[in-house]
């Protein structure tokens, strides 16, 4: 609280915001409180300010309320649940004795191993009961002790036993093996390993595809101690002899698992270890004794910090002169129900090796399955558009599947329609499938996410034959400019934007830190680039549409269908104009002097022309608003070119 009446009460000091809020909150102590009240009575300025502070409080409360979900606080038997939890809690020993020692964890893992063995001996109920008890113990652990690499590894091993080895479903995992030369950083893919572990028998089917595409499969009994030659099986000749010998001694198989990792480090000849937490990953480092006969200097394991799931194993090897790294990356881990097909596969694998085809289906299309005979996709140039095709296009347009996603409508040789494509997220997959299944004549839909694509999908060439360099923008990651990645000069307009936001901050009368301003700059740049990218998506969609429903193709369409096509086209064009208007307004605010310096030529109806223009504006926007090589002094020229382009597009 400032002293309100200075030397002369003739020049009273105004109340600052903190005083006003404290007064409203009843937090001013009596002498200051009275002085503040007195001042308010005489000062219009402060009284007005007081009202606006009150308004801000109100709108803050409103936003806070809107932030909460609709039915907040959720109703339900929470009190009963809490009382139950409280009763359980009261009966538990105090939290100090909860802390499990490493010995307890070891014991627990032994128990789990016993449960695992029991399960294999067809006493699943008992195993399940044990696993349950162990799980309860696991999750009761308060997780608040500082963890050593040993403890983390032991816990992870416990989780793995429960989740993977005692799983009640068939577990399918896939691992990629790479070799990295540490002097040149050159990465060489060595192959992929797919493991399918049965949940009823100790059988594991292993399929390996070398970098040359050679495929091998083998089903082994995990309990069988006699695995002679098994560990060398995956990649003969890939690992150095000394390394191969070490793997064989340790019975290590190239897989990303905790059990495997433990055997890998068991013979390293030292006890040193480190655990490092990096965001949501835990990194464990296990150096090997100097001059270890295997040539390994260190192995590292990366775990998900939340679930303790192993993600990657790195193995650093040196022969004295050179250093290289083997990297095993777990690409997928999935649990699938034990289907009749899988059951049959495992029951026959016990006696003989299954056919290659059978193996492919068990390993979920690993390696890539050959395309099956059936109707073939036609290009737009060798087929006529149908009304059904238009209705599919409309449905896709309604869920924005024409914007930057590689989703194509294929007329098929048997007259049917196939919608095939690649989307980024499973939820997009669902949206598209849902939209299309609602049609009167739903087409066949094969929309994949990159994850499925690795497994068994085969993408046809686009029917519009537009693939090639122009499509490159579809694969670029969305622009994300992080404030930490911004330092003066890296982004051509950085200084300009920083100055603008500093001025604004000053005008607001608040103390913004440079980080706040950087955050604003990053946010603005992201928005501009994203808008610009969207314009490009719409222009691309127009171009695609004109090939899909070109004059040559539409002869068999009904008037209604033609009208629908036209509606989609207009929709995209409207979006392009709207976005360029929005961009113009936003940019004009920051860089006002180039506004209005544009030419006024109008864009014709040619979609190619439109696409080229929008493409150019996108290039310019990216150059100006993301970190690029461009010199700040050419930025001004590019900025006016960009404004001119936006005008033209608009």
């Amino acid at each position: 609280m400032k002293k309100l009446h200075d030397v002369e009460s003739l020049i009273p000091r105004h109340l600052d915001d903190a005083d006003l809020i404290a007064l409203l909150d009843g937090e001013l102590v009596p002498p200051s409180q009275d002085q503040a009240r007195e001042h308010l009575e005489s000062c219009w300025n402060c009284r007005t300010r007081l009202n606006s502070v009150q308004d801000s409080i109100q709108s803050f409360l409103r936003v806070r309320q809107e932030l909460l979900p609709d039915d907040f606080p959720p109703s339900g038997p929470f009190l009963r649940q809490f009382r139950q939890r409280l009763t359980d809690h009261r009966q538990k020993p105090t939290s100090e004795s909860w802390k499990l020692t490493e010995a307890v964890w070891t014991l627990r893992n032994h128990l789990l191993n016993a449960a695992f063995a029991l399960k294999r001996h067809r006493k699943p109920l008992l195993a399940l009961a044990m696993a349950f008890v162990i799980l309860v113990v696991t999750f009761a652990d308060p997780f608040n002790s500082t963890l050593s690499a040993k403890t983390i590894l032991m816990r992870a091993s416990g989780y793995e036993l429960v989740r993977v080895r005692l799983a009640s479903d068939v577990v399918r995992s896939r691992v990629r093996l790479e070799r990295i030369d540490l002097s040149t950083e050159k990465e060489t893919p060595l192959g992929e390993i797919s493991l399918v572990q049965d949940c009823r028998t100790p059988l594991v089917s292993i399929a390996v595809q070398s970098a040359l595409g050679e495929v091998k499969e083998k089903t082994v009994d995990a309990l069988d101690a006699d695995l002679e030659g098994f560990h060398a099986f995956p990649f003969p000749g890939v690992f150095e002899d000394s390394l191969g010998k070490y793997f064989a001694t340790q019975e290590w198989f190239p897989d990303v698992s905790i059990a495997g990792y433990q055997s890998l480090i068991a013979g390293r000849g030292t006890d040193q270890d480190f655990a490092i937490r990096q965001g949501d990953l835990i990194e464990l480092r296990h150096p090997f004794a100097p001059g270890h006969p295997s040539g390994i200097t260190e192995v590292q394991l990366f775990l998900d910090a939340g679930t303790y799931t192993p993600q990657q194993i790195c193995m650093f090897v040196s022969d004295g002169a050179q250093r290289w790294e083997y990297r095993l990356i777990r690409d997928s881990l999935e649990f699938v129900p034990r289907s009749a097909e899988l059951a049959e596969f495992f029951s026959r694998s016990a006696t003989k090796t299954g056919s290659l085809q059978e193996m492919q289906s068990v390993h979920n299309g690993f390696p890539e399955s050959k395309s099956s005979p059936g109707p073939a996709p036609l290009s737009y140039f060798e087929s006529k558009a149908t009304d059904a095709e238009v209705s599919v296009a409309v449905a896709l347009h309604q869920v924005d599947a024409c914007l930057g996603e590689e989703v194509n409508i294929f007329p098929m040789s048997d007259g049917s329609i196939l919608v095939q494509g690649l989307v980024d997220w499973p939820n997009r997959q669902a949206v598209i499938q849902q939209a299309l299944s609602a049609l009167a004549r739903p087409p066949q839909v094969k929309v994949y996410t990159p994850m499925d694509l690795k497994a068994d999908a085969h993408l046809y060439d686009p029917p519009d034959q537009l693939h090639g360099t122009e499509l490159a923008f579809l694969h670029q990651q969305g622009p994300i400019v992080m404030p930490t990645g911004l330092s003066g000069g890296e982004m051509p307009l950085y200084d300009r934007l920083f100055e603008y936001y500093s001025k604004r901050a000053k005008a607001s009368g608040l103390r913004f830190t440079p980080e706040d301003i950087q955050k604003n700059v990053a946010s603005f740049s992201n928005q501009v680039v994203t808008l610009s990218r969207q314009a490009l998506f719409h222009a691309w969609a127009v171009k695609k549409l004109e090939i899909e429903f070109s004059p040559d193709r539409v002869s068999q369409l009904s008037t209604a269908a033609l009208h629908q096509v036209e509606m989609i086209r207009q929709d995209h064009r409207r979006q392009v104009s709207a976005i360029s208007r929005r961009l113009t307004t936003q940019l004009a605010e920051v860089v006002p002097e180039v506004y209005g310096s544009s030419s006024q030529s109008k864009v014709g109806g040619d979609s190619e022309n439109l696409f080229q223009l929008v493409n150019r504006q996108y290039d310019l926007t990216r150059q100006l608003f993301t970190t690029s090589e461009e010199e700040p002094n050419t930025a001004a020229r590019d900025m006016s070119r960009l404004m001119a382009l936006l005008h033209q597009i608009n």
Partner: protein
């Protein structure tokens, strides 16, 4: 579990600004008292924790854990002053631990993607989620301290209580409130 004395009951009631902490039926165990406190204080504490973790189930769980800790705290203790700020502080720290645990990467990406991107990647069925993200962007100008101060004050905590929850001085609370409110106001004008 022994019953609580009249004195400590009225202290608890005072700390939580409740008329009384009393279980019908006369005999009151600590479990009953904490159960009753949970029922009465849950909505407000839940709202505070929710705005930190943005997940109702996580918030519910953390609030329950905070009350379990309150139970331990009250057990065998006669000193029951500053209970409310104690409870909020425990919940606040639990929420911070939780935030560190969950995947920060995805939320960072969302934070830095401006609203336009949702048109491309989010389906229209998730409009509500988008709306919430937009509202949240109304608060993104606030730093953690300002946001916590405003949220705690909005739950009715006094400056002293807020200062105890966050481990800062009451004077700083006043400054954070003013600064936060001002930033919020400027940002709000900009967006509307």
């Amino acid at each position: 579990m022994g019953t609580m004395t009249e004195d400590s009951l009225s202290n608890i009631a005072q700390a939580f600004r409740l008329e009384e902490v009393r279980v019908p039926g006369g005999k009151q165990t600590l479990e009953d008292i904490v159960g009753e406190l949970y029922e009465k204080v849950r909505p407000s504490l839940l709202a505070y924790v929710y705005q930190m973790v943005i997940s109702t189930s996580d918030a519910e769980d953390l609030v329950q854990i905070a009350f379990l800790k309150l139970f331990d705290h009250l057990k065998g203790k006669t000193e029951v002053s500053n209970l409310r700020s104690w409870l909020y502080r425990v919940a606040h720290n639990l929420a911070i631990d939780q935030i560190r645990r969950v995947d920060r990467r995805s939320s960072l990406i969302q934070e830095w993607f401006p609203d336009g991107v949702t048109l491309v990647i989010a389906e229209s069925a998730e409009e509500q989620l988008v709306r919430r993200q937009q509202i949240e962007s109304a608060l993104e100008v606030l730093n953690d301290r300002e946001r916590s101060c405003l949220m705690l004050r909005a739950e009715g905590l006094s400056y002293k209580e807020v200062s105890e929850v966050l481990g800062i001085s009451a004077k700083s609370v006043s400054v954070y409130l003013a600064r936060g409110l001002k930033k919020f106001e400027v940002n709000n004008e900009k967006t509307t």
